[in-house]
Symmetry: C2
Subunit: 259 residues, 2 copies
């Protein structure tokens, strides 16, 4: 595949964009897309979204930013997904992108053999798999007239490797990787990337360090948190943007920050 010209009018959705990787991805993408681009940033936290919007305003004043605050897995998610993917005058865009970044760690305080509450499991798959599929189908239906489309699934090493007491997270990431592989097969004209950003210096590392039941895995995250050796989300976001620009990845494949 030839390098991708990102400097075109782009309609772009980034989920979980109020902080961490989602915020960094939204800013880094804004910096490279062309005039006339619209970036829709969504998350539950409106304060964080306002901060992301402000940062994009400084870094990429040529881009319009739209904030849609809400829970993509909540009871009125269908309505919310429509607002997120509402494309004003689709004819004005040359490229449509969606970055499925929102997600949760799940209950890591229990071993897999202790996961016994169907509500906890259902809610986990509701946010991490079902809402992604539903938002993705809304994106496809809203951007049908835009010939060039890119879908990014933010994944993890945990989609490929088992982490003790991370049964929910590993299973959810494995499901997502496979779903986006199927999507890539079904839609050969769409570029699909599953990107594993590496262990990031975000709230998730702190949560993992505090709550992980397995002592080995917990110690790993305590170390990351203590020594601040986890990756800067901005560094990882830049790598993801470069992968999209270079455009050499096989559609549907899983690529890690460290690859």
């Amino acid at each position: 595949m030839a390098a991708a010209d990102m400097k075109v009018a782009t309609f772009c959705v980034v989920t979980g964009a109020s902080k961490g990787l989602g915020q960094a991805v939204a800013i880094n993408l804004a910096e490279i897309v062309g005039d006339g681009s619209l970036i829709v940033i969504t998350a539950r936290g409106e304060d964080g979204l306002n901060e992301t919007k402000k940062k994009i305003g400084s870094a990429a004043p040529h881009v319009t930013v739209k904030i849609v605050a809400g829970d993509i897995a909540g009871p009125y998610s269908d309505e919310l997904h429509k607002r997120i993917c509402d494309v004003p005058s689709p004819g004005s865009f040359k490229h449509a992108m969606i970055i499925h970044n929102a997600g949760s760690l799940g209950d890591v305080s229990k071993l897999t053999s202790e996961l016994s509450d169907p509500k906890v499991i259902t809610d986990y798959y509701g946010l991490n798999v079902s809402s992604v599929l539903c938002l993705n189908s809304q994106f496809f239906s809203a951007t049908g007239s835009i010939v060039r489309r890119t879908v990014v699934n933010i994944t993890s090493l945990c989609a490929l490797q088992p982490f003790k007491s991370w049964g929910l997270y590993c299973g959810g990431k494995a499901a997502r990787d496979m779903i986006f592989k199927v999507l890539a097969q079904e839609q050969p004209a769409v570029r699909v990337l599953s990107y594993a950003p590496g262990p990031l210096q975000t709230g998730m590392v702190e949560e993992a360090a505090k709550k992980t039941a397995d002592p080995d895995i917990r110690a790993f995250f305590v170390g990351l948190s203590k020594n601040r050796t986890a990756l800067d989300p901005d560094v990882s976001a830049k790598k993801m943007v470069k992968l999209l620009q270079d455009n050499k990845f096989e559609s549907g494949s899983h690529i890690d920050f460290y690859d």
Copy 2:
């Protein structure tokens, strides 16, 4: 690992045991376990379970069979899981086994980009992932005093390879494979196998032949159905039993009928 002595008093649960592979697995396991064994067969269809029980009665009269009819993902599943895993006098068993065979194909009439109904997706993960985790944790808690335990996840090639318009099935099977890999890491004393039985001459092949949206994948299943070239469930069940007896698999690994 040395070959496994299966001819011991075994407490064994088989889900989806009213027909197809589940029925064949229940019968084949009954034939090799020792005196004093109890096989619990569960599924929604009581008539099929009665048939399975009758067949076990002929093939393996030394085994006690208990029928528990119900929906393992239904609203009272917690109560049902307890009845399924109710072990009478645990001290009398030398080996406890559970075969997670129940599952569904999901909606294959839509492409992944058309999956837009959260209820359909939630119900799919409810049956194929959440109920498996919950029943599995019930099994672990009920068999805690039985030193030797084996857990089998019935999986599919679809856990590893994308099948167009099978986004739900592929994603669910990938999630299950990974969850059981995590379980194997967490429980080194337990033998965990993900077994892909191959394309079987069961109702699922007929369903796939009728409903699959993608023409290539549909044609494959139409061919299997028409020429009756899919595998006999009994042949595949025997292969699974042999894998358990030979006991050479790496715990947590995915092994296909054709491997």
